[in-house]
Amino acid sequence: MPTTGISLVREHTQQMQLPRFLWVPFELGRPFGAPDEPDFQRRVLRTALELLERDDGPVVLADFPDDAPEIADGGDEGATWVCPVSFRPSQEDRPELVTATLDEMARLAPWHEIYVERRGSAAPPASRLTREQLVKLLGCLAQGETSPEVESDDPLQEWLRLGCDDLRTWYMQAAQGQPRRGSAKALRDWFWRDTAAARLIGSAATTLLEHPDRLVQFLAGRAVVPREYFPDLMPDADSSDWETEGETK
């Protein structure tokens, strides 16, 4: 079957010596550059498809020449995007962290409603749990409960990974509802550095490093908090102890 493809990590594609791939200098999670940029997306797709007409195989790795259209970090040149809702996340008191997160979500909710109004609709959460349920469950995990009661048929590791993503997505959408939109990197930094929700997730993940189920341990240590934020959120986790193959991205 003739194939062409998009590569997000050029070094990997080069090592694997594959038939036809177009490397793009875009962020992970954005293989066609940016949302709501149909002309740009079409150009990326067309460039990848045109590799099908190349006859100089068996290895073709082309480079897309342009960066993705980027949302500026705020309106003023050089200014850093800052969420107008100010948080003072609690540090170590876990029940207080749950309260702080619920309070934080209440303050962000109007921005999320504006975001949904602007976008037309919001898809249901992938975990099928409400964010209030998730926050309370994370609080239970942070306090050492190994299998809190949950309205889900999925095992802990599944609702946990999807639920943490749901929470993060909801926060970022709320932030996108505000007048000054931030870049993906600014939003990521804001979420992981400045919110009580991130501290709650980090607190739960730290506790789960000692969970009796090894799959849950694996998830907690590798796929809940990005390694670059370990010093703040999971100081006890070892960011260097990673397997090299077959793990989650």
């Binding site: 003739p2 090592q15 067309r46």
Partner: protein, 154 residues
């Protein structure tokens, strides 16, 4: 963004440490001009119809995505701390460019859009482990008379 040089060192080291050995063979298939090809998308973004079973962490199965799918009917159950779903939620074409493919069909750049596209759960498995699934997909794609596949990561 994002070249490896732009990402935090701890992530860069992690990515570069992954084993990405070449395959045993280097297949190379040519075909008719692009304007006559029937094109399908195969994505590792863990996409599926909202009512379908979610992907699990290490999942070797696939989900079929009808070519007529509406964006609101798709969800993503791949998860990673290294990307967010906000962009996908705003525009499914960011990871699954089905509207762009239809436009290229209208412009005559490609011959036609396949009736069925496919999604897998990226990461979590090695190429050898996913090979039986990919052989099954190749069979299904041939039955749909597809002669060009665009592989899309997330």
């Amino acid at each position: 963004m994002v070249r490896l040089a732009d990402i935090p060192e701890v992530e860069r080291v992690h990515l570069l440490a992954k084993g990405c050995a070449p395959f045993d063979s280097r297949p190379w298939v040519e075909g008719t001009p692009l304007s006559k090809r029937r094109v399908a998308i195969v994505t590792s973004a863990g996409l599926h119809r909202v009512e379908d079973q979610a992907f699990s962490m290490v999942d070797l199965s696939y989900r079929v995505i009808p070519g007529s799918i509406r964006a609101d009917d798709l969800t993503m159950t791949h998860s990673s701390v290294h990307f967010d779903r906000v962009g996908f939620r705003e525009d499914v074409n960011l990871v699954f460019p089905i509207d762009r493919l239809r436009e290229l069909e209208s412009e005559g750049v490609i011959g036609s859009v396949a009736d069925y596209h496919y999604s897998l759960m990226g990461a979590g498995w090695l190429p050898k482990q996913i090979e039986p699934t990919m052989r099954e997909l190749a069979r299904l794609l041939r039955e749909d008379e597809v002669d060009a596949v665009c592989l899309v990561p997330v």
